[in-house]
């Protein structure tokens, strides 16, 4: 057992299914979908494309200090608002933020995809001088991280893990390691991302977007299902207050779960082809890091996005490491793929599952063919979740696995 352990004392969420962790968990239990068609994108794609957008209350956004807000693109706003919820839930004395012992690690695929697009359009149209002095700060890769640090006056380590769809989970892994190493006592960590036409078209180009014409967009995202045709893009943020165990105990904090182990690796050979062997290695390494046996895992929160190759590779890796008796589900059937936010955001649901001793199913999963051999519940299942293994898999051949263990 390591000297310094890291626990989660607060979770905040901005998602297509609600702008708080309780709202999200309620929506998931009601089997709702955050996915809709985007008529506002029709002209760009020449067809109806599905997406899972976030809706922010402008009055809530305006409560963020203007001098911080001015450098925030949507992704940073999502992160900032999720961080406010996480900090409030943790009940932490905010004086610790300015002690030099609090860090902030938030990752995104792109600092702000919409701000990137705006800058390109301004450049193309010869309007470079119309851009705000703050515009570049909105699209920098670490925009969410430094903006959230500025919101709370955090003056310890500030990092940004930008590994596309593994960004959020890598941020939590880095937070765990920072605490284990004694370099911080508290870290605000997680992921955020925006879904824009630029993002969706990147997946479309690779035949990885579910884009068939339909009146039922809520059925398009079908992780692990035989009829899956690709992912549906989504956006949001998940931010967690990660705290050194004794620090949390000393102030009598409610501990949601422990970050017990973590690993990340990469395939080293292909940017977009999931590598079953390296996913399995990543899972094994995370379990070894936690000192937890595969048989102790009660639930797998899968990355599975609904792509043909990716889901099959992850299912095979889970089968190889854990066998076929551990419940597995992906929340991307409900939420779509919240990209760099997904790893952290989906942990909000894991906390709910641990608390209520249930496993949520994968929405839209009807027929399992090439993903057979793992246990995929079709409905909410009563089940004690003490140890959860969470996967994230990203472009660049990047894998990340976090082991979460219930406390007490």
């Amino acid at each position: 057992m390591r000297d310094r352990r890291a626990v989660v004392t607060g979770i905040g969420v901005i998602s297509p299914l609600g702008n708080s962790a309780p709202e999200l968990f309620r929506a998931l239990k009601e089997n709702r979908s955050g996915i809709r068609l985007m008529p506002e994108w029709h002209e760009m794609f020449g067809k109806n494309i599905a997406n899972a957008p976030v809706c922010l209350d402008p009055a809530e956004v305006k409560k963020i200090n203007r001098k911080v807000r001015r450098t925030m693109g949507s992704a940073a706003l999502f992160a900032g608002m999720a961080a406010q919820e996480a900090v409030a839930q943790s009940g932490i004395d905010t004086a610790v933020f300015t002690s030099g012992r609090t860090g902030c690690i938030i990752g995104s695929t792109v600092g702000s995809a919409s701000s990137m697009t705006e800058a390109c359009i301004a450049e193309y149209e010869g309007r470079r001088n119309d851009l705000s002095a703050c515009h570049f700060f909105r699209l920098m890769s670490h925009s969410s991280s430094f903006n959230v640090a500025d919101m709370f006056g955090i003056n310890g380590p500030q990092l940004s893990t930008n590994s596309a769809c593994a960004s959020g989970l890598q941020a939590l892994g880095a937070a765990l390691e920072l605490i284990q190493l004694g370099k911080a006592d508290v870290v605000l960590a997680g992921g955020s991302d925006e879904s824009t036409p630029l993002v969706a078209s990147s997946f479309q180009l690779l035949y990885a977007l579910a884009e068939e014409e339909t009146d039922e967009p809520e059925k398009l995202s079908r992780p692990f299902d035989a009829g899956r045709t690709g992912l549906v893009c989504a956006e949001g943020a998940g931010i967690l207050v990660v705290e050194e165990l004794e620090h949390a105990k000393k102030r009598g904090a409610d501990i949601l779960f422990e970050l017990a182990g973590y690993a990340t690796n990469c395939s080293g050979w292909h940017v977009s082809h999931s590598d079953e062997l390296q996913i399995a290695n990543c899972m094994k390494n995370a379990l070894a890091d936690a000192g937890i046996d595969a048989a102790e895992v009660d639930y797998v929160s899968a990355h599975a996005t609904g792509t043909r190759v990716g889901d099959a590779a992850e299912a095979a890796a889970i089968r190889a490491v854990l066998g076929g008796d551990t419940p597995v589900s992906s929340l991307k059937g409900h939420l779509g793929h919240t990209l760099g936010a997904s790893g952290a955001l989906e942990l909000a649901a894991v906390a709910g599952m641990m608390k209520e001793s249930i496993v949520l199913p994968t929405r839209n999963l009807e027929n399992v063919e090439d993903c057979a051999g793992i246990l995929l519940p079709r409905e909410i299942t009563p089940h004690k979740v003490r140890v959860c293994l969470k996967n994230s898999i990203a472009f660049g051949g990047v894998n990340a696995t976090l082991i979460c263990r219930s406390f007490n």
């Binding site: 203007r66 001015r70 001088n129 119309d130 851009l131 705000s132 002095a133 703050c134």
Partner: protein
């Protein structure tokens, strides 16, 4: 353009970009000390004024030396006299 039009146009930048109330915007106000603009805001003030008045200001030493809101009004009153295209931009 008369002085009132210029004051209204300049003030609109401070209201829209810096979320200030119109009642705060009086000529004697120091832009940094009273209106709390910082270095990034000053750049955005110049960007906003350029868009509003349709001229390039970036290298104009007078805007960079402006200390009070009155200095900005005075500068644009002078510029409007020197550059009739500013009035055209408003039509």
């Amino acid at each position: 353009m008369d002085r009132n039009e210029i004051v209204k146009a300049v003030n609109s930048i401070f209201i829209e970009r810096f979320e200030l109330e119109e009642s705060e915007l009086t000529p004697e106000k120091n832009i940094i000390e009273d209106l709390q603009l910082d270095s990034l805001d000053i750049v955005d003030m110049i960007v906003g004024l350029q868009q509003k008045f349709g001229i390039v200001l970036r290298d104009n030493p007078e805007i960079r030396n402006a200390r009070t809101l009155g200095d900005v009004y005075d500068l644009f009153e002078k510029l409007a006299n020197e550059h009739p295209e500013i009035a055209e931009h408003f039509k």
